[in-house]
């Protein structure tokens, strides 16, 4: 605890830098996020260096009798760094790095949707109060009681395939995330609005929007960043789970969840096909979890989990 007291954190950025120096787990998480992030952004470049792409079939890399990859360890070689997918011979390294792009895109964009909607609704409810507050609180309760995973599975089945799946996933996963953010933001705003600087701004004639932008928002960043970061692994996992069940990202777009789903049938004969996308998915969720834990410890010392 004494370490926390001794580290004065003036801004969110300074607090994060101080945390990364002190907290080795969070640093490991941050490094992993950066590595996977680079893989996601530079997926095309990396696969070009390897000389492959995630869509071309290469049946020459397969064992003609079993349909599994030719060679040891799932066909790992200089040409196919992570081996190939059984039956199609598509390059597994290309699938994994392009899958990182899919996962990060959906995880981060859905979190942005949740945060945006959650902050606006939650801050409005806390600041304005009255019937609006009651409606928001009640709606959030209903949403928290909504069987969202079952609903998303069902929705994936009924929405026509002409609707872009990544966009649908971002909107649906993001939208179901707002109540938990709105709740915290609302309770923060309820305490903030009793403070003198907010009253002063209001008495000087600031509109609710001005109060929100220049008085409330700067004080909401810390909890919102913590909550947002901690919700990313869940969203990445949700996209993978939906793709695993066949109602997420449709083929041929690479997705870790769908690769793992295909690997189910090959787990006894070609475990490496499970290994690479599985480890990638695990590392991504793990990295955001430990990084988010570190952030929470650094920005919100009350809820100290690790020390």
């Amino acid at each position: 605890m004494s370490e926390h007291v001794g580290a004065p954190a003036r801004s969110v950025g300074a607090a994060i830098r101080a945390m990364l120096r002190r907290d080795h787990w969070a640093l490991a998480g941050a490094v992993t996020i950066v590595v996977l992030g680079i893989a996601a952004v530079a997926a095309d470049l990396l696969t070009a260096i390897e000389g492959q792409d995630p869509y071309s079939y290469s049946t020459g890399a397969l064992n003609p009798e079993t349909g599994g990859p030719a060679g040891v360890l799932g066909g790992v070689s200089g040409a196919h760094w992570f081996g190939v997918e059984p039956l199609t011979g598509r390059d597994l390294f290309a699938i994994v790095v392009h899958g990182a792009r899919t996962s990060f895109l959906i995880g981060l964009a859905a979190t942005a949707v949740s945060v945006l909607v959650g902050v606006l609704i939650g801050a409005g409810a806390g600041y304005l109060g009255g019937w609006y507050d009651r409606v928001v609180t009640w709606t959030a309760d209903v949403f928290l009681g909504f069987p969202y995973l079952v609903f998303m599975i069902a929705l994936g089945a009924v929405v026509p395939s002409s609707v872009s799946r990544p966009l649908l996933l971002i909107l649906v996963i993001g939208f179901f995330g707002w109540p938990s953010i709105a709740r915290i933001v609302r309770s923060q705003v309820l305490t903030l609005k009793k403070r003198n600087f907010v009253s002063a701004a209001r008495i000087l004639g600031a509109s609710p929007w001005q109060v929100f932008r220049s008085e409330l928002l700067p004080n909401l960043w810390a909890p919102v960043i913590v909550l947002g970061t901690l919700s990313i692994p869940g969203k990445i996992g949700l996209e993978a789970a939906l793709s695993f069940l066949g109602v997420g990202i449709p083929p041929p777009t690479p997705s870790w969840g769908r690769a793992i789903s295909t690997a189910v049938d090959w787990v006894s004969t070609d475990p490496m096909f499970l290994f690479f996308p599985g480890v990638a998915l695990f590392l991504a969720t793990w990295a955001f979890t430990v990084f988010g834990d570190g952030l929470r410890d650094a920005l919100d010392p009350k809820t100290d989990v690790r020390r």
Binding site: F146, P147, L149, V150, A157, P233, A241, L245
Partner: protein, 331 residues
């Protein structure tokens, strides 16, 4: 009187939540441009057949009328069509699967034992091990055991349940060949085989959840041990086992009950994935079948049932709160 009014207001609130869930689900499912009549209309599907199918299923009515019919069916049952070819869906009618020619309620109750066996068995394991390990490492804070358990629990929180499941199948099923990797034996047939076939799914589902409980129990325990009343209890000369077991644990259990309620409520969601990995014929499998066959009434029924589970879990949590925390009674 007060208790009665409390119970009544809770009941009304619960029904209201369920009604909103049905409404949203209904509107979304029936407004998206996919036609249930088209899907269950035989081939070749002529305009005439399609119109007949629509009329039969009540799809030619406006959506609000369909919604009211659906609600009415729960209380009074429904009959689709007239005469000899009509289909009756008995009370409580939560829809009729035209593709499987069965009441949705029947389909769900048929599969329920599998999902319940899976979920409740796993819940017992994760509660006992998660809370137990959490208390243990909180009392040995900073030790090697504490650090290893914490690192392991972060890994457990991060690993998706299907990944753990496939790993379990690979190691315990195929490589060591100690447990069956799939299939379900009804409890009534042979309780031993029932448990034996479920060992691996239980462990896998429990592992993913237990990690959350370890972290939660540990942090809550550490916070509670710093409270004044614990110091007072110790100062009064109470044995340590009594301080922990009676005074501290009661406080620690409150947030755990909340999380447990949420987990029980969303059990169906988690079971979908576990059942797919271990090929168990439960509700999750039913849901996936409904998805692949675009069986809208069945999808609606499953979603509604999932909402019902969540609401039921919330009521149970409230009851537990009343037992654990006298302050929470009747508020």
């Amino acid at each position: 009187m007060r208790a009665l009014r409390f119970a009544a207001s809770r009941l009304v609130g619960t029904l209201l939540v369920l009604l909103v869930v049905v409404f949203i689900t209904y509107v979304v499912f029936y407004l998206v441009p996919s036609d249930p009549a088209q899907l269950s209309c035989g081939r070749p599907c002529t305009e005439q057949n399609l119109a007949l199918a629509r009329e039969f299923m009540g799809l030619d009515d406006p959506w609000w009328r369909q919604f009211l019919d659906f609600l009415g069916g729960i209380v009074t049952g429904r009959t689709f069509g007239v005469g000899a070819t009509s289909i009756h869906c008995s009370v409580p009618c939560f829809g009729y699967s035209f593709q499987q020619n069965t009441d949705v309620v029947v389909l769900i109750t048929e599969r329920l034992p599998v999902t319940f066996s899976l979920g409740l068995g796993a819940a017992v394991i994760w509660l006992v091990t998660g809370v137990g390990a959490g208390v243990l490492v909180a009392l040995r804070r900073g030790s090697a055991l504490d650090r290893v358990t914490l690192a392991g629990s972060v890994a457990g929180v991060s690993a998706p349940v299907y990944l753990v499941g496939l790993l379990g199948i690979l190691v315990l099923g195929f490589t060591l060949d100690v447990v069956p990797v799939g299939g379900y034996v009804p409890f009534a047939e042979s309780p031993v085989d029932w448990a034996w076939h479920l060992v691996l799914p239980w462990l896998v589902l429990a592992f993913s959840h237990a990690a959350v409980y370890v972290r939660l129990t540990r942090s809550q325990m550490l916070e509670t041990l710093g409270e004044d009343y614990i110091r007072t209890a110790r100062a009064n000369g109470l044995r340590e086992s009594k301080v922990i077991g009676k005074h501290a644990l009661r406080n620690v259990l409150l947030p755990i009950v909340t999380v447990f309620g949420l987990d029980l409520g969303t059990l169906l969601g988690g079971a979908v994935i576990t059942e797919r990995v271990f090929s168990l014929p439960g509700l999750g499998g039913l849901l996936i079948d409904a998805v692949t066959q675009r069986d809208l009434p069945l999808l609606l029924g499953c979603t509604l049932f999932a909402a019902f589970l969540i609401v039921l879990a919330n009521v149970l949590v409230d009851l537990c709160y009343g037992v654990l925390d006298p302050r929470a009674r009747l508020t």
